[in-house]
Symmetry: D2
């Protein structure tokens, strides 16, 4: 398993009239967190796309437990659960400044050839980069 | 069961650099669809909030199958699955103009007292409105 | 001058903790309105992009006068002010259900060749479509 | 004058199908930048709201010059131009990693009493905090 913590401050425009972080903004927080996690592995999501590999999301799950509030600095923990042979299976937790668990989540992304739009295996450099953790 | 179809056209700002509807925008489409579903039952989500009942989302699930494209008019089908005694359990399907299934989803919302922020039962007028369908 | 009115209902996720439509969501409403205006002229923004012409925004102005509220159906009026030889100069007004003026705005978009990313003149079919109005 | 630089990385969900930061996401970047600027002055926008003062935006102007790209770390410079007696008049510039100017902008915010929703003067502690710079 490989985990990484990213900090994100809740923007005003991301709140809703309940005064909470809108439930629809959590997937973007997950995106930011996994992008940073991948960066710490020495890879770059943008470069991967430039090389013709895209990573569409296949499934998303979020279990909302406590609201996130405006201007709070949240910790978004993302954990790569297994060797990403054909998919990226990532678990998330969001904690607030008082270390309270706000939500758990999961996304599954697949490797797709940008031209053919067909499924493919993870590129070798990607597998190489994460091998040490599994 | 009670189902309702809402049409939503994909906005430019909702697409991403893959050219697809960004995965993080689907929850807002679900929100629009369930709001319209509730309206067809003779109720109004805004008025419910004005009466001191809020409906935070407790869980979200999305299974993405095909991408949604810019400017497409999507059908977002939302189905209330059971009597909403203490929660709203809603299934969703999104179909494109060629009737292709793009995704399936689910949200669970709970009834919360806006002042105390504690769980509560659905208001009687809400149960009354949906009783015929279950 | 050519004007067209588009109706947009304010989504929950578009509000902020003031309970208003977040100021940063107005540009997307303008985008929806001008896309529909262009459609009524017999053209399609998506097809224009598919033909290699993109229309990036060069400037945006918004004068916010009254807040827009959750669930209100707004009228977004967009008016093409002059022959779009090299740019689309569009004025906007947003009115609420009681016909109260909420804001005025303006955007200027330019025609750009998608490959070279250089400025270009409007395509002839575009000029043809709007000529009757100027 | 008082200026402050905030860094913001462009998220995937903030790009559009042109591959650029969507024009409608710039206002939120301005919001983040001015919030951080106010924080460096020893104040806190959230606390101000909790004390019953809200700061709705009255006008927005953006002059887009070059596109911002996915994953770039942008510098958003915000400059408070004058003593904020009754309004916050702020200029912005966004620069990319190669120090290229991407856009200029301006917002005017006004101080409003959250209860009465009427205009009011800036609170004394706010004026005190910025006096040294004007």
């Amino acid at each position: 398993m490989y985990c990484f913590d990213t900090k994100i401050r809740v923007r005003y425009g991301e709140t809703d009239r309940m005064g909470y972080l809108y439930y629809g903004n959590y997937p973007e927080y997950f995106e930011v967190a996994r992008t940073e996690m991948i960066r710490t592995l020495g890879m770059n999501y943008r470069e991967m796309e430039d090389q013709g590999i895209i990573l569409p999301v296949r499934s998303l799950y979020i279990d909302y437990q406590q609201p996130a509030l405006y201007d709070e600095v949240l910790v978004v923990r993302s954990c790569l659960k297994s060797m990403p042979e054909v998919k990226l299976d990532i678990d998330y937790e969001i904690l607030n400044e008082r270390n309270l668990l706000l939500c758990r989540g999961n996304t599954v992304l697949v490797f797709v050839d940008a031209k053919t739009r067909k499924l493919r295996r993870a590129p070798e450099f990607f597998l190489e980069a994460v091998r040490a953790y599994f």
